[in-house]
Each structure stands twice: as C-alpha cells, then as structure tokens.
Amino acid sequence: MARQMTGAKMVVQALIDQGVDTVFGYPGGAVLPIYDEIFQQNSIKHILVRHEQGAVHAAEGYARATGKPGVCLVTSGPGATNAVTGLTDALMDSIPIIVLTGQVPTFMIGSDAFQEADTVGITRPCTKHNWLVKETDNLSPVMHEAFHVATSGRPGPVLVDIPKDVQFATGTYQPAKPSTSHYQPQVKGDMDEINELVAAIETAKCPVFYTGGGVINSGPAASQLLRELVDATGFPITSTLMGLGAYPASGKNWLGMLGMHGLYEANMVMHDCDLMINIGARFDDRITGRLDAFSPKSKKAHIDIDPSSINKVIKTDIPIVGDVGHVLEDVLKVWKSRGRKTNQSALAQWWTKIEEWKSIDCLKFTQDGKTIKPQYALQRLEALTKGHDRYICTEVGQHQMWAAQYLHFEDPNRWMTSGGLGTMGYGFPASIGVQMGHPEALVINVAGEASWLMNMQELGTAMQFNLPVKQFILNNERLGMVRQWQELLHGERYSHSWSESLPDFVKLAEAFGAKGIICSDPADLDDAIMEMINHDGPVLFDCLVEKHENCFPMIPSGKAHNDMLLGEADTQGVIDAKGSVLV
C-alpha cells in the first residue's frame, strides 16, 4: 500500500521492510533527518561506531556471519570518503552491504558546499552499483532495488546517496516487492557443460576440488551439497582463504588451504592434478603463483556466478556460469543418475601420493624456550575454543595466514577475513558486526598489534554496546609480513617495519573500561586464554610472541606451486629480480 511520508521515514521504513534489524552508523549534518527517525522507532538497533570505516567493516562482519546484508548509515563528505576502504574491501570479497550516505541538498550539489563530496563519483569504482536519489518519490524503489542488487548474482556493496532536502520532503512510499528490474543474474548452469563436468569426474585419475568464497556466498545449502559431492566422489578438496569452512576441516578429504601460504599437500595436488574443479573461486594471484606453470597437466572446470571471472586469468575447459548451489545440485543429480562412477583404482593411487605429501607435515614447528611461538599461540587457541560456538575474524598479515593454517573451521560463515583487499584494521570492527549478529557466540579477532591499532577506536563501540569481543593480538612488535618480505627480498633492510612506541595494551583496555591480559610465557598461555574466554566483556589479549618468526610454507613471488619454501633453510636467494616486482 502506497503511503505518504518523508524521505527520512522512507529510509527507515524500507530498512524495516527489508528485514534489517541492525544498522552501523555515525551521524552528521546531512543525515540528521534520518537519525531523527531512528530515534523515534524501536525496530532497528543502531550501533554507533567511532569511525565510518569501522561501520562498513562491522557491516561486512555482520553480513558474512549471518548471511544477511549489512547496513551502514553515514553522513556526507568525510563520512562517505571514510567508507571507501570498506566498500572496496566488500567489493573485492563479494560481501553484500548497503551503505546509505547523506548528501548536501540537491540545490547545493556542485557548489562545494560544507561537507560536500561527489560521493557517487568517488564510490563508482568501489561499489557494485550506486545511486544518487534526487526525488523523494524515487527513494523507496531505489532502496528496495539496492537490496536486490547487493544480494543477487555475485554479491557486493551498494551505496545510496540521499540529499538532505530529499530526506525532508514528503513523497509516496512504495512497499517492497520482488524486483522487476532487468538485473536478474543467471543462477542455473548450462546442462551441456554440467554433463561434460560429470563425464570428467567419472574418469579423472588425479582430481581436486578447489573451492572459494562463492560457496559460502551461495548459502548454507551450497556447503551441504559440496560436502555431499566431495564425500561421495572421494576426491580431495582444498580451499582458498575465503572459502574456509565450506567443507569441514575435520572432513577426511580435506587438504587444508592452498596458495602462497597454503599447505604443501594442497599446492602439490593443485600442481599435479589432472582435473581441477574450481567452485566459486577466482584464480587469484595469491592462489596461482606463476601463471605459466600453474597446474600444467589439468583439465579445468570453473563454476562461477560472474561470467567475468571465467577465463580472466586461467583458461577454462569447462566453464559453468551459475550459482554454486544450483550448479552443484545439478552436478550431483546427473552424476548419481549416471551411476555414481569414479575411477576408483586411480583415485586410490592419487591418495597414496597425497599421503606422502601430507607426511612432510609442513606446519610443524617447535615450541621451546620461554618465548611463545605465534603458531603455538594459535594452536592453543584452537584447542581451547574449538568446542565453543565460535566465530573468528582476523586482521591482515602473518597472523592472518597462521590463523588460516592453525585454526580449523567446521562450518561456513565462521571465518571473517579481508582476503582480496587485505585491509589492515578490518578485523576488530568486523568482530563487532559478528557479535551483533550472534550475541551469545564466542567472537575472537586474531590480530597483529599493528593492524589492530588501525581501528582501535572501536573499543569504545564494543564497550558501549557491551559486545564481548575477544581481541587476540599476536604482538611481535613488527609488521611481520612486511618484515618477512624485507628479509627475503630486500637484503634484510627493515625499513619502517617495526612497531615503535606501542601502547601498554592492558592499560589501553582499562582506559576504555575493558579487560586487558598480557601473556609472554608459554607456560601461562592456557590459563590466560581461558581467562579471556571466561570474561564477560571485551578483552584485549596482548600475546607477546617470537619477533622474527616467518610464515611458512610459502610460494615465493614468481614461483610455481611445486616450488615452495618449507622453512628458514630454504629461503636463501629464492626470489629472483623478476619475482621481486610482484607483490
């Protein structure tokens, strides 16, 4: 039923109609009418962040942990520009979020008004789509379409820029209805290609499933179908950083993560396989290593909802455009109807080879002495939290890779990390978003001290809204990954890669009213972690770790999958000049 109301009220009404229960935001002059409406209702909780970047990452964390789109509300000008990093992050990782920005009144646009920025211009390349709404009557259809675009096809961030006069003016509110716009991405895969994939599955001697964030984005049903297909075929499976949890880490066919800091067995399987089934991953450069040496013997199938992912960097033999869930359902149906065939004897040999690679035990490390190894800290964190209803966020760097290696994920939507953009400062606000989506769960942000400081102001948010997020900081007083690259590539000249003048994290926590824990002795670690888990409130855990530990295994820049460094002994002179220009 169409009703008359102000633009500001329409915004709130549209959010309610779209099932939104939480908005992360920060007020300012150009969104005051919307904040006035938020003040006068109880359906939507508003989480006041301390910086707009935090709002966007929190919305991302919320979206990834709940499967629902995240919503942010920020003001014009600096509010909008502060949201840009989060938008780009969400675009790279295909996270559905809706960012609402205030704008100066329509009659002032272009006059360099106070807090004016060309928000749709600035955010055009870092959103999936954006709108500047100049008529109040258009506001509700645009709001509903924004949710449709953010969540359909390959998900992504969208932005709606709303001038202040449009918020004040009265217009007609159109209720939400199924989108009739031309934007309706294809979800069913082509049956000819699916048949070709099934035929390849039936005969493959050395197959591998290589899965990515697309499986998580497709929804829980896709993860279930993937598990069924993997277990029924008996094929090994590896995953990108983004796809962890789609197949359980305890599953018998699990190889662990692949890529630059992936497991030896996973990368060797990728290199030597004869059938690679890419499900919802995008042949990112962290995965492929040297392109001309990437999996040279394999036939490659690629299931992706985004046609532009197919053949972008790696030539695909069996391209299937469609939603992972829909396509896997069809693949299973066809494979079963054709008699559930696989090449059993070849598979047995393939697994024998895989077991040999596994026996290298590429993640082994020795915890001795009085200094905590970061790997050991994560191993203990895993052991002491795995029984919990647990969600893990990370910042970006060495700790992120160690977390991916040493923490184990049994379910999708449990792992929130900035994969594509690699945004330091992502994890803390993301953990706040996750905790909002799952108030009773144990939410841990595995961080490095440098990343964590990038959005430390959000400790105020966590305190204000009583969100008991656990900040597990592996403090090596270094920008660990930068330091590692300088050691390997730049003659051990550690240019600006150490953290000078660090705060006392315990006192910092206490300054905000939170709990701080410091731990430097391996013998105290378990008790300290238990103290963190058992504390009802935000905790800042300052875990002092070995300062010069490098992250292994590692595929150096410009090298192939079968050219991995397994430890310190392998590192001398491994990256040539050509490799050193890569990132």
Partner: protein, 186 residues
Amino acid sequence: MSALKIKKGATSHSAYNLRPTFSDVVEKHTLAVLVENEPGVLARVIGLFSGRGYNIESLTVAEVDHQGHLSRITIVTTGTPQVIEQIKAQLGRIVSVHEVHDLTVEGPSVERELAMFKVAGQGDKRVEALRLADIFRANVVDSTLNSFVFEITGAPEKIDAFADLMRPLGLVEVARTGVAALPRGD
C-alpha cells in the same frame, strides 16, 4: 577447448567466449552496449575501461529509446581475444547495462561515422578541395571566400582517406563523431 555454448547475439549473458581465447593477436572490435539512460552511466562504462587498462579507439553515445530509457553506446576497442572477452564480460556485469553485442563477431555489420572538415585556401587548392569533396560525396555546409566546411559520412577508413587528401589542401580543423554501427539484415 569448448566454449560457452550460448547463442550468438542474444543478451548480456551471451557476449563472452564464442572463440578460442589466449591468443596474442590484437584485434579491433566494435561493441554495441545498450544501457539504462541514467546519470553516470557513461562514467561507469568509461571508468571500467580506464580502471582496467582497456583501450577506447572511439566511443559514441546517445539515447535511442526514449520510452524504454535506453541509450546505445558504440565502442571501438582493441585487445587480444582474451581481453576482448573480458571487456564484454565486465561490461555485462555493470548493473546499468542491458545488453552487450560484439558486432565484429556476431555477423556482418555496417559502421558509419560523421565528420566535419574545415579547409582554408585559395585558388587551385580551393578548387581541388571542392572537386575531391564531390568525389567523396561530402557536402559543403559552410562557405566563405577563404574556406569551406565539409560534412562527410562513411566508414572510418573513408573519412581517414578524405582527411589525408585534405591535409595538403589547407585542412584547419576536424570534428569526428566516432563510429555508430548496426548489424546487417533483420
């Protein structure tokens, strides 16, 4: 290798991967892109080309369906087959884009461009310019005692040829619209 088995020239889902990719040969393609006629849509298309490092040789845009709110952007671009496929796929996923057609591979098409040439000169050169314009079926749209403005329509190669001839005859200024193109037949 198999290609995506999608009918030629159907919708935005069709415009990728009809031929073998990963060749090093740089090809020139004319793309017709039907877009929502809304503010910023041209910036989205151009931003894609600049942001991802693709070439634009020529670009024209105008509304073609007032009621349907559709504009047609005709882009002439160059790249290896892989890059061309990427361009089409990337264009296809812009939310404001309705259809992407690769006129170069979807069958025969006609391409036309309009150009205006200002040629200044006197005496024999002026007579020669007028004579050549007649041969090229260019119209005189402005004339003074010292200059002509010619209007010429044709394939880009024809316009290039006319420009080459006018240059020694006193060519002062050129304006070209860029290519508009349609598939032949029904």
